[in-house]
Amino acid sequence: MKSFKQIYKEATNKIQGIAAAPGIVIGKVYLFTKDKIEVTDGEITDFEEAKQNLHEAIKQSKKELNKVFAFAREKMGEERAAIFEAQMMILDDPILIETIEKRIEQEKKLPEYIVFDEISKYQDMMKHSTEPYIKERANDIEDIKNRIIRNLQKKRWQSKITHESIVVSNMLTPADTLLLSRSNVKGFVTDHGGLTSHAAIISRSLNIPAVVGTHNITKQVKENDIIIVDGFHGYVIINPTKEQLKFFTEKYEHHVQLQKGLEEFKDKPAVTTDGRVIKLYANVDVTGEIDLVITSGANGIGLYRTEQILEELSEFPTEEEQVKLYTNLSSRIYPNILTIRAFDIGGDKLRLFDYAESNPFLGLRGIRLLFENPVLFKTQIRAVLKASHNKNIQFMLPMISTMAEIKKAQSIINECKAELKKEKIPFDNHLKVGIMIEVPAAAVMTKEFAEEVDFISVGTNDLIQYLMAVDRGNDLVSDLYQEFSPAVIRTLKHIVTEGSIPGKEISFCGEMAADTLAIPLLIGLGYTSLSMSPSTIPYAKRIIRHLNYERTVKLAAECVNCINEKDIVNKLEKFFKDHNITRTRHII
């Protein structure tokens, strides 16, 4: 049988991208375009159905706006708040809705077209006004128009996606990825985005094969083309030949067998040949993943990204809703630990605020945003405390960069504890509170920060982005997003050395832990607790059980002295070869 290398060498119908989530899948292209709002004036036959779709889209738009509004109210000036209110009122505007309904019935066109045309009329009137402020108002209306249209189209998309579909898109937001994954999509391919884009992270956690950053796949395929997505090597084959189809079908079946084989590791500890025990935790994005966590044999949940709840609900969950979610997760995982990270909103994760920050990654995100929205923050803390009576929950704060932030967060947590005591509600009074080390400033201050908290956890996605000053989602510079840059490796060494204080746990929850190449290095540096997507845990366990700790220490010491990323990668690859350990991508 040919090798992957040969197959790809001979293939003229391939596109290369970045292997974002492992697996092989063969299916039909579903083109998902949404970067530009494009409406079609398609004919409709069923007026009642169109009307119902319109009302559902308006309802969903209201829900979304409510979320934005609830959140932004405290922060905005009165005039900005009034614009939000006006947008809400537009969704209830009886004259507008009635006109749209009538036109759909008379003209028999898709609701999205009528909505576009009708609201655009008002915008044109505004644009022709002599008053500059009315001209600007046309832009405020643009948002509400697009929101309704988007929601109408989403309904149309969903109805066209089958369990056969591979979604091909320019780029995917976390919300899209979640929405689509719920429609049983088989795979994802995108033009843009890197290994750590949220689309990639979610695909990995849901075990859906994905290739991202192909630059132009959307231009190369048509709707219903057959494609093969190879999430191990980062290739997509368009309209495969018979030979290719046979090859990949066999590989696919082999992979299924292999995954079964990995199950044997489930109940075995992740321990090196010379007896060093490594704890493997799971990163959890969506609540549906918990079954995967349990079958993976994880030691617990090292990172529960709660901001995904917002994506799933498209609304801020109440205290009670959160208590229910957290209690459920902590009971399912008991007696293992559940690490809940406070809402890490901002940056690319959720654009809740109406006003644009010129540099959102350096702006109001993580703990900074939580301090600005004390109601949101306290609601979550209270929910975490209420759910903590099993004593297997710990709480983690994102984006910490100063000691003052740690102290302030602790004092807010104490306030919440005092409230619950007064209300006679039981909770874990010794709930461990830790911080993410993901801002370079925190990395530098690891020792003092670690002394102040119960545990620390290294988040490499942001740490690398801030250390290298590179936007991981921007493919123009994503080459500089180097996991194995000597600057990164030395920083990781600094953190583990400074943070090793008796009684305090240091864990590692960045996506880097999911890169099998990094595992010997991280262990050699001294990390004993790694958190990763549940689907990668068996692979990591397999590698760890082949490692000799003494040798990884030597390897790490050599890597720390390197000056180029290339030298480090070469050393790591040589290490795998010398010790006869095959990495995932080579075993299928």
Partner: protein
């Protein structure tokens, strides 16, 4: 039917906040309510409509009320205009 002319008295003119208030007041009543200015004839119960109306300080708008409770509606809405939308 009641028809009456009102003048915009506040500095900022008929901006989004008073526009929203006018529509909210109008929706309490059964009668039809229209605003007319510069040839534009706008249904006063439609926020998107009222938002298209440019009216700076000193400009005049014609209000018409038509229906069973037109008197009460006119009273409340005209008063809101005359108070300069409770703004400076």
């Amino acid at each position: 039917m009641i028809e009456t002319k009102v003048e915009i008295k506040n500095k900022a003119g008929l901006h989004t906040r008073p526009a929203a208030t006018i529509v909210k007041l109008a929706s309490k009543y059964k009668c039809d309510f229209y605003l007319t200015k510069d040839g534009l004839h706008i249904n006063g119960k439609s926020i998107i409509g009222v938002m298209t109306l440019a009216a700076e300080m000193g400009s005049e708008i014609t209000l018409t009320f038509d229906g069973p409770d037109e008197k009460e509606a006119a009273e409340e809405i005209v008063d809101f205009f005359n108070r300069g939308f409770d703004e400076p």
